[in-house]
């Protein structure tokens, strides 16, 4: 088993209203040094495969389901072999 974490975020060109609102809230806490927050989501995926094929699996499920390429982009980290 391989544990993979897939991160999905808006593309740079897409306005992220949640990130904007959270940034404003952080400023009201007094942390003006925080310049920007982007909100995204992550998926922890357990894959029963070898290191060789896991990348293909992740690319396919991301591109066909987890990510909407009109708005979003993704990256992933292979966490550890369980």
């Amino acid at each position: 088993m391989i544990n993979v974490r897939i991160f999905v975020t808006y593309k740079e060109s897409v306005f992220d209203p949640q990130g904007e609102t959270i940034t404003e809230a952080i400023h009201s806490l007094g942390h003006d040094e925080v310049k920007q927050v982007h909100v995204g989501k992550f998926f922890d995926v357990q894959v029963d495969s070898s290191n060789k094929t896991v990348e293909k699996t992740i690319a396919e499920i991301s591109e066909q389901l987890l990510v909407n390429f009109n708005l979003e982009t993704y990256r992933y980290e292979i966490m550890e072999e369980a």
């Binding site: 808006y10 060109s13 897409v14 306005f15 209203p17 949640q18 609102t21 389901l65 987890l66 909407n68 009109n70 708005l71």
Partner: protein, 228 residues
């Protein structure tokens, strides 16, 4: 002309669509379950509003995997009429039948009110009974209605006249170019965030949505006569 109203788990405007067509327009309309695999015998398909599959992952994303979806894609590709309102619009973009995507409203709020729209193309099968540039009022009720597409896609939509409805006075969700509804390039697939099916009876306060269904029925009839 026979019309299918597709019912997904979590659809909640399917009855409104059915009643608008059946009770108000006296059309031949039937519910079709998401479990079915074919649309044989139908001339138009309607995807209702609601929260299909709980809006899990993204609005409309999971509906794309239901049994009925390949038949809807084939139906659209054959040039038959496909209409999606609200969640139905989200499903059509997720399924790739319409370009772009619908994201969270800029306000982060669920907006539920009547809003002014401009008809910006009255040459589609869904809008022939409206005047070009006419202002109409329709209800909206959504949290994920902010239309987004890449710059090139937007330019293409504008150039081809695929923007059919645009928000007037107020943009309720942050949609680019004030887009409220678009068609595919061929014009046989329409998706829109507003709910015309909730505005079909003067007694209930508004009938600005009625002519969308009347246009479709008239154009369906024309198509049938031409095929004879």
């Amino acid at each position: 002309m026979k019309i299918a109203v597709v019912v997904f788990p979590g659809s909640n405007c399917d009855v409104d669509l059915y009643e608008a067509l059946h009770t108000v327009c006296h059309a031949d309309v039937e519910y079709v379950s998401h479990k079915q695999k074919n649309l044989t015998g139908f001339d138009a398909v309607m995807l209702p509003g609601g929260f299909s599959y709980g809006d899990y992952l993204r609005s409309g994303a999971i509906a794309r995997f239901s049994n009925i979806m390949p038949a809807i894609v084939e139906f659209a590709n054959e040039g038959k009429f496909v209409f999606g309102t609200c969640n139905g619009f989200q499903i059509l973009t997720e399924a790739g039948l319409l370009p772009g995507a619908l994201k969270k409203n800029n306000s982060l709020k669920f907006v539920c009110k009547e809003i002014e729209l401009k008809v910006t193309n009255n040459q589609t099968p869904f809008t022939t009974q409206y005047k070009m540039g006419e202002h109409i009022n329709l209800p909206i009720a959504h949290a994920d209605g902010s239309y987004y597409a890449e710059k090139e896609v937007l330019e293409e939509l504008e150039k081809n006249g695929q923007v059919v409805f645009r928000y007037m006075n107020e943009n309720p969700n942050g949609s680019l170019n004030d887009i409220a509804g678009i068609t595919n390039k061929k014009g046989n697939v329409l998706g829109m965030m507003p709910h015309p099916e909730r505005a079909v009876e003067a007694l209930l306060g508004n009938e600005d949505g009625l002519r969308l269904f009347k246009s479709l029925l008239a154009n369906g009839k024309k198509k049938e006569e031409a095929a004879r």
